[in-house]
Symmetry: C2
């Protein structure tokens, strides 16, 4: 059973008079039969807590700098009309007690805490956002990460890896952006996709009649490799269920690991890339859909940057002179991370140029940066 947490705040022009404000609210608390405790804050304003019926808890703070905050916590099964009435009564009373002194009233949509279906998936730049998630379709730990597929009323099924929103049914703009923003002609081309286990850009690329697409995705095999090795996702495979839920994104193209113009290699991409470099094999397009750019250069991130640079270097080596390398960066607000990434581009064994595009990916709730990189 979840907890509903209501927040109601008042910004004042001048600090409120504690005794008269508290006295004014008292009748409401009494009516609710709430038990009051006034706490000693050692000079940090007025603070009282109230325990009511059915596990209701209320916190009233009158801050010394002219802010009044109210928190009301109720159990999920509590009568929401009653709770709304209580909040309305408190808001109305505060307005009449402090009329003229209130600069802003802010009542936030109630937070739902501890619910079976978690609706809060913060953005990459650390903002709190609530999604319209109503169902959990898939929730498994692979050898590499936690994989969730949640259903959003408006975005459709959303893939969430280790708590990060990755791709939803609504997110064709992501797929288009990481394939060159619709400006490329894939017909007859050779394409290498690194990662992209959701199948989004794989399915999209197949439609464009390339000569050959090779997708190298390690995590396909991470849950039960034996199912993957069967070359066809039988129902016993967790990936079968995964793709059942991501079908709007990947279509039926991943039901088999090989087709007329494609092959899926269930392998780590680094040895595959090294082998291609040795063999002199090259591609028209390399699409790196492995992961977003690391967000810092903290020591623990060092290896991530090194890994990223290794893959970049190998990818550029297998790129034809006229070829293009596409990848996601990170959210537009993480300018430091993007700058660090661009610095890496100057440190490759083969000199490159790049362009970037800012794209609105519907389910991300933040703008996202995509890169196109080519040999100088």
């Amino acid at each position: 059973m979840a907890l509903r947490h209501y927040i109601l705040d008042f910004n004042l022009s001048a600090p409120a008079d504690y005794p008269s404000t508290v006295r004014g609210l008292q009748s409401i608390f009494q009516e609710q039969e709430m038990t009051e405790t006034v706490h000693d804050t050692e000079g940090h304003g007025y603070l009282a807590t109230f325990i009511g019926k059915n596990g209701r808890f209320l916190l009233l703070r009158l801050h010394s700098h002219g802010l009044v905050t109210l928190d009301l916590q109720c159990c999920e099964g509590d009568n929401t009309a009653q709770v709304d009435n209580l909040l309305n009564a408190l808001e109305k009373k505060m307005k009449s007690l402090l009329h003229g002194n209130i600069r802003r009233v802010k009542r936030l949509p109630a937070l739902t805490r501890g619910a079976a279906v978690d609706r809060y998936w913060p953005t990459a730049d650390g903002r709190l956002v609530e999604y319209d998630i109503d169902r959990v379709l898939y929730d498994e730990d692979s050898a590499y990460q936690n994989i969730k597929i949640l259903h959003s009323q408006q975005f459709g099924n959303i893939l969430i890896l280790n708590g990060d929103v990755n791709l939803a049914d609504s997110d064709l703009p992501y797929t288009q952006a990481i394939m060159g923003g619709g400006k490329e002609n894939y017909t007859g081309k050779e394409v290498l996709i690194l990662g992209g286990g959701d199948g989004g850009n794989f399915a999209e690329a197949v439609k464009l009649k390339p000569k050959m697409i090779t997708m190298v995705e390690i995590s396909f095999g991470s849950l039960r490799p034996v199912d993957v090795l069967l070359q066809g996702f039988v129902m016993s495979s967790p990936w079968f269920w995964f793709w059942t839920h991501m079908r709007k994104t990947c279509g039926s193209v991943l039901d088999n690991l090989t087709g007329d113009c494609y092959q899926v290699l269930v392998e780590d991409c680094v040895p595959v890339l090294k082998k291609y470099v040795e063999e002199g094999k090259t591609f028209d397009y390399v699409i790196n859909d492995l992961t977003a750019v690391p967000i810092s250069t903290a020591p623990e991130e060092d290896s991530t940057w090194e890994f990223l640079r290794l893959i970049l270097d190998l990818s550029i080596k297998v790129l034809r002179p006229t070829g293009k390398y596409f990848t996601q960066g990170n959210c537009a607000n993480l300018t430091e991370a993007l700058t660090l990434y661009e610095e890496q581009l100057g440190r490759l064994s083969c000199p490159v140029d790049f362009s970037k595009e800012v794209v609105c990916v519907p389910s991300y709730m933040e703008l996202w940066v995509f890169y196109t990189i080519w040999k100088k």
Copy 2:
């Protein structure tokens, strides 16, 4: 000075043992020199509050159904590294006390309450979302509504009317959608725009070389009509500052109320539409950018629906037989509101058909529905 509110929740497989859990956390609270109060919840789990230094307040609840919630409130000036350490210590301790029993740990990005710059602007479907707002550029009450222009790092300047996000610099997709989704040829056409005071679709339409655009926007004159009547927005007009901040959206086209192919009427659109109907004046395109569809049929909304139907009826009357009427609906999740709107379309004096499109408007953080309506 704002309040930072941290939330840290634990979903358990089975209810926690109160005494041992509380005893286990005690050393942390003692180290922080927090004063504890244990409250009688009348059988609704364990609830303790703690008052610490510098106005810190902590609430610990062990709910009887296997949920543990922690709230920590600190003043804005508090040492965030120390606060993070405290939360880390609590999380670590809980994990060691309840290892194996924890199904989920959820730590939300801290809420900032009562800050000068408000970052929380809920979606039309009532979800809590935090924006990357860093500055308030404009905040005035007109005769009709509160008008704010806030600066978002990623979306640019955002116009907020009565607390609803209306249009940001990033939102060309809104303008394109309400002009027919880029599928229309405006060259040589006669266009009527109702509302749209931000100038977005007005500026966009002017670029498309129509014969004549007439925009009817009442609120231009709402703050200081005298400035508007000067036919040119002198610096003394609040609208001058408004358009300074919305310049990326509206360009310079609204610096004057008339131009080669346009005129702006600072009037209520209803009498203007009635006059056009009487005169037999017609248009190729009517763009209704007045307001979103009302979200209910509650009695207080009756007049809103009536107003909406009146404008719709008059607009269809001034539409040429091959003409099109474009308007926004509401967010995709408010299906009831959209259905009600579509019912209105069956009740017009002239029979119409319609199509709708779901569009991602970057700053909205929710998908939005747009309608195209034409005479049968």
